[in-house]
C-alpha cells in the first residue's frame, strides 16, 4: 500500500522558496523507494528548527522535529537504537553549521549511516535574515547591518576532513540533479552529506548568480580524495567563482552503527546476569 506522502498541514513557506523543491524531491524519492520495496515505516526524518524544519510537518513519514542545531545527535540516537532504520536529517545552515556544528563533524567522524541534507540558504530564514557561516563576506544581515567581517567556511571541506564518506552539493533549481543526489545520498551506507544551495526568496535570493554560475561536475572521480579537495576549493562560498554541483567524494568504510544490534535482552537472562554480578561482589 503506498501512502499519501504529504500531510494536510498548511504549508507556510514563502512563495518561491527553495524548500518546496526539496520537499517535492524528497516526496518523489520516498515514493520511489517504496515502489522498490522499502517500507516507509522504517524511514525517519529528523529536522532542526528554522524554515527547513517545517519539512517534519509536511512529509507524512515518521519524524522528530527536534531543536535548533541538534538534528544530528537525535538522528544518531535513533540509528544506534535501531540500525535497520533509514535516518534522514533536514537541517538549516544556521542549524547545522553554527549552533550545532560540532555534531556534524562527529557524525562524519563516526561515519554513522545517516543522510544529512543541509538546506543551505546561507541565511537564518525563520529569524528574519541574519548571516550564517556560509554567508559571503560583507553580508548585510539584521545582526550585521554594516556587513560581516568574517569569511564563510566551506562545509564540504569540513565534511571531507571530518570523515564523511559521501559528499555532494546540489541546487534547488536543478530538480533532476537534486533528486538523483538525494537518492544517492540516502542509498549510500555511511555518513552522507549534501549541501543544497537553497533559494531563500525573502532574505537571500541567489537564483540569478547560482543559475549563472552552477555547472555539473564531470570527469570527476569521487573516489579520488585529492581531486575532491581541489574541486571543493574552487568556490569558497564568497567569491564569484563557478559553482560545481555533484558528488565530490564517495567511499566505502565501516560505519559506527554496524556494531549495534536491534533489540534487547530477555528478562530472565537479565535477571541472571544481575544475580551473577552481585555474587561476584560478595
Amino acid at each position: 500500500m503506498s501512502r499519501q506522502l504529504i500531510t494536510d498541514a498548511k504549508n507556510t513557506w514563502c512563495p518561491g522558496c527553495g524548500n518546496f523543491a526539496i520537499q517535492h524531491t524528497l516526496k518523489d524519492v520516498l515514493g520511489e523507494m517504496e515502489e522498490q520495496g522499502r517500507s516507509l515505516d522504517d524511514v525517519v526524518l529528523v529536522t532542526g528548527i528554522g524554515c527547513h524544519g517545517k519539512m517534519a510537518d509536511y512529509l507524512n513519514i515518521n519524524s522528530f522535529y527536534a531543536i535548533h542545531g541538534r538534528a544530528l545527535p537525535v538522528a544518531t540516537g535513533i540509528k544506534i537504537a535501531n540500525p535497520d532504520l533509514s535516518v534522514i536529517c533536514c537541517a538549516g545552515d544556521g542549524d547545522a553549521y553554527a549552533e550545532g556544528l560540532g555534531h556534524m563533524i562527529f557524525a562524519a567522524k563516526r561515519n554513522i549511516d545517516i543522510t544529512l541534507i543541509v538546506h543551505d540558504n546561507r541565511v537564518y530564514g525563520l529569524t528574519t535574515g541574519q548571516y550564517t557561516p556560509t554567508s559571503p563576506l560583507n553580508f548585510h544581515g539584521r545582526s550585521t547591518p554594516a556587513g560581516t567581517v568574517e569569511k564563510p567556511f566551506n562545509p564540504l571541506e569540513l565534511a571531507l576532513v571530518s570523515g564523511a564518506t559521501f559528499i555532494a552539493r546540489t541546487y534547488t533549481r536543478w530538480l533532476d540533479h537534486l533528486r538523483a543526489t538525494l537518492r544517492d545520498a540516502i542509498d549510500h551506507r555511511g555518513f552522507s552529506f549534501v549541501d543544497v544551495l537553497q533559494i531563500c526568496a525573502t532574505y537571500y535570493n541567489m537564483t540569478k548568480p547560482y543559475t549563472a554560475r552552477a555547472y555539473e561536475l564531470e570527469d570527476h572521480d569521487p573516489g579520488d580524495f585529492d581531486a575532491a579537495c581541489e574541486t571543493m576549493r574552487e568556490w569558497d562560498y564568497s567569491s564569484d567563482a563557478p559553482i560545481a554541483l555533484g558528488t565530490f567524494y564517495r567511499t566505502d568504510a565501516s560505519t559506527f552503527d554496524e556494531k549495534f544490534g536491534n533489540g534487547g535482552q530477555h528478562e530472565e537472562e537479565r535477571k541472571e546476569a544481575i544475580a551473577a554480578l552481585l555474587d561476584q561482589r560478595v
Partner: protein, 550 residues
C-alpha cells in the same frame, strides 16, 4: 555492637581506593556490614587520598572520625589523621617512607625483595592489617585471590610478609551473618537501571558520575547494553531522545555543568514526551567547584530546569538499596508517564561503597507500558483523561509517529492555535496527578530512628545514613523524602505527624530541602548545613544535633 574503623591513606596513584575495597571485602567475609568513604582531590598522582572503611554488626551508612586502625603509605596519612587516633589505635605504616609511632613495616624493602611492583605496597600493608586485626590467614588469602587479578603469587607472598611483620592488636572477631555484595552508589544505580531493562546508556565523563559510565561500559556485553560516550553532554541528551523515540530505554549520566548543557534537551523531552532517565550526581559548585567533593546544591535547579512548564520525577535515593530500587522505578516511571525521571545523587552516595542487602530490595523488573491503543491513524499525543497518551515507537506498521518540540496537535503537527496550545499545556500538566498517585503507593518518604519522637531530623540523599545513626542514638526521628517531584505532600505530612521540632540536615548553604518544604507551608525549626565538600561524620553530626536540640 561491634564496630571498627580503618583508615588507609597515601598518594593518588597508589591505589588507595582499591586498597580500601580489599579491606571492605575482607571484613565482609568476616560477616560485617560495610561502608567506605573515599576522599581524594582532583589530581592523578601525588596529593593525599584516603579511604575510611567502617565495619559494623549493624547496618551503617556513614563514617566515624575515630579509627581503630590507621594504615599509612605516606607521611601525610599519619600527620593529617593523627587526631583520629586514640591510645588503642593500631598504627601501621611503611617504615621506609613514614616516620611514626606504631608498627612500622619496611614495605618498600619487602616489595623489592619479593620482586613486586610499586602498587603492591598496598598488599603488604593490607597483610599487616590482617594480622593486627587477628584475621585468619585463610580469609586473607581467599579475599586477596578474589580481588587481585594479576600476579597473585607475588601479591600473596608480599601480603604474607606484611602479615608476619606485625602483632595482633585489635582483633576483629568473625560474625555469623550473611555476606553481602559490596556496591558503590553508582553501581547500584546502574544495576537498578539494568533491572528495569535499560537498553542504552549515554554519557560524557564527569566526576562523580563517571563511575557509572565505567561500570556500565564494563558490563555492557553481559546485558546487550549499548554504551555511548559522545562529543559532549548536549549530544548525550539529544542522542538519548533519539534512541528512546526508536524504542530503546535510555539513561544518561552527568554532574552539574554537564547537566546545564542538557537542560535544553530536557525541556525538549518535556514537550516531545519522549522518556529519558537522567542520573545527576552532585558535587561542590557553582561551576567547576570542587569536582571530587560532595554537595547537595542542585535541588532547586533540577526541580525547575528547562524553559516552560512540564512535570518530571525527581528522585533522590540515600542508601544503597534505595539507589537500586528507585533507579529501576525511575526508568519505569519515565516510560509509563513519558516524562523525564531524574535520579539526583550526591558524591557521597555515588562513590561510597556499601553492603547491599538483597533481602531488603524487591526486584522491580521491566514494567510494560501502555502501548498504542490500536486506533488508526496513530495519534502520538492523543487526548486522554490522565494526560498520558498511548505510546508507540518507530517503526510502527503502516503508521507515522511524529515527535515535535513545538506546540502540536494530537498527531504531532505544529500548531499556534490558542485553544490547542492551552489544551496541550493542560494535557501535559495533568499527568502530575497520576504521577503523584503512583508515587504515593511507593513509600516516597522514609522514616528512621524513633518513630514516636517529637523531634525529627529532615534530610535527603546520602545524609540518611548519618542521620539515621545519630537519631537512633539520641531517640529522634528521621524523615527522608526520596521523591522530591512531584512532592509527596501527603506522605510527608503523615511522617510529620506528632513532630513538633524539625531540624534539617543538608550539604548546602541555602537549605534547599528546607526551602522546598517551607514552600509547602511546613516549618523547619533549625538547619544544620555543611558546605565544605565533606560529608558529616557520625561524631560531627551527633555533636551538632546535640547543640541544636539542647
Amino acid at each position: 555492637m561491634n564496630d571498627y574503623s580503618i583508615l588507609i591513606g597515601g598518594k593518588a596513584g597508589e591505589g588507595i581506593n582499591r586498597a580500601g575495597s580489599v579491606i571492605v571485602r575482607i571484613l565482609s567475609h568476616l560477616g560485617y556490614c560495610q561502608y567506605m568513604y573515599y576522599d581524594y582531590p582532583s589530581l592523578i598522582r601525588g596529593g593525599h587520598n584516603f579511604a575510611l572503611v567502617r565495619a559494623s554488626t549493624h547496618r551503617i551508612g556513614t563514617h566515624r572520625n575515630a579509627v581503630e586502625f590507621l594504615l599509612a603509605l605516606d607521611q601525610d596519612t599519619v600527620d593529617v589523621h593523627r587526631w583520629r587516633c586514640s591510645d588503642g589505635t593500631a598504627v601501621l605504616f611503611n617504615a621506609n617512607k613514614v616516620d611514626a609511632e606504631g608498627m612500622g613495616i619496611p614495605i618498600d624493602d619487602i616489595v623489592e625483595e619479593e620482586g613486586g611492583s610499586s602498587v603492591m605496597v598496598n598488599t603488604c600493608l593490607i597483610g599487616a592489617f590482617g594480622r593486627a586485626a587477628g584475621i585468619p590467614w585463610a580469609t586473607m588469602e581467599e579475599v586477596l585471590t578474589l580481588e587481585i587479578p594479576k600476579k597473585i603469587e607475588t601479591n600473596l607472598r608480599i601480603a604474607r610478609r606484611g602479615y608476619d611483620a606485625v602483632e595482633e592488636q585489635t582483633p576483629i572477631p568473625r560474625q555469623e551473618a550473611a555476606r553481602h555484595p559490596i556496591l558503590t552508589g553508582n553501581e547500584a544505580i546502574g544495576l537498578g537501571l539494568l533491572d528495569a531493562g535499560l537498553d542504552a546508556y549515554v554519557a560524557y565523563p564527569m566526576t562523580p558520575s563517571s563511575g557509572l559510565l565505567h561500570f556500565l561500559a564494563g558490563v555492557a556485553g553481559d546485558f546487550a547494553l549499548k554504551v555511548i560516550h559522545p562529543e559532549n553532554e548536549i549530544a548525550v541528551m539529544l542522542m538519548a531522545q533519539g534512541a528512546a523515540y526508536a524504542g530503546a530505554r535510555t539513561a544518561v549520566g552527568t554532574s552539574g555543568g554537564g547537566f546545564c548543557l542538557m537542560t535544553e534537551g530536557l525541556s525538549m523531552a518535556g514537550m516531545t514526551e519522549v522518556p529519558v532517565t537522567i542520573v545527576m550526581a552532585q558535587r561542590g559548585g557553582p561551576s567547576t567547584g570542587t569536582p571530587t567533593y560532595t554537595a547537595q546544591g542542585d535541588l532547586h535547579f533540577i526541580l525547575n530546569a528547562g524553559q516552560g512548564e512540564f512535570p518530571r520525577f525527581v528522585i533522590s535515593p540515600g542508601n544503597i538499596e534505595q539507589a537500586y530500587e528507585w533507579s529501576a522505578r525511575a526508568l519505569n516511571l519515565s516510560w509509563k508517564y513519558q516524562v523525564p525521571s531524574i535520579l539526583l545523587e550526591d558524591k557521597t552516595l555515588a562513590e561510597g561503597a556499601y553492603s547491599f542487602d538483597r533481602d531488603m530490595t524487591t526486584p522491580v523488573g521491566r514494567e510494560a507500558v501502555a502501548r498504542r491503543d490500536g486506533g488508526s491513524p496513530y495519534r502520538r499525543y492523543a487526548a486522554t483523561e490522565t494526560g498520558v497518551s498511548p505510546l508507540a515507537t518507530v517503526p510502527l506498521e503502516g503508521e507515522v509517529i511524529k515527535a515535535n518540540s513545538y506546540h502540536h496537535d494530537e498527531r504531532g503537527i505544529t500548531t499556534e492555535d490558542p485553544a490547542l496550545v492551552a489544551w496541550l499545556n493542560e494535557k501535559r500538566m495533568r499527568k502530575e496527578d497520576a504521577m503523584l498517585e503512583e508515587i504515593d503507593r511507593l513509600s516516597p518518604v522514609t522514616t528512621a530512628g524513633d518513630g514516636s519522637a517529637d523531634t525529627a531530623l529532615l534530610c535527603w540523599g546520602s545524609n540518611i545514613g548519618v542521620c539515621a545513626e545519630v537519631a537512633g542514638e539520641a531517640g529522634l526521628k528521621v524523615i527522608q523524602p526520596i521523591v522530591l517531584s512531584p512532592f509527596p505532600v501527603q506522605a510527608f505530612n503523615t511522617a510529620l505527624e506528632n513532630v513538633t521540632v524539625l531540624i534539617a540536615v543538608e550539604d548546602n548553604i541555602t537549605g534547599q530541602l528546607t526551602r522546598l518544604v517551607e514552600g509547602l507551608g511546613c516549618c523547619v525549626d533549625d538547619a544544620i548545613l555543611r558546605y565544605d565538600g565533606r560529608p558529616f561524620s557520625l561524631e560531627e553530626l551527633r555533636e551538632q544535633v546535640r547543640e541544636v536540640v539542647a
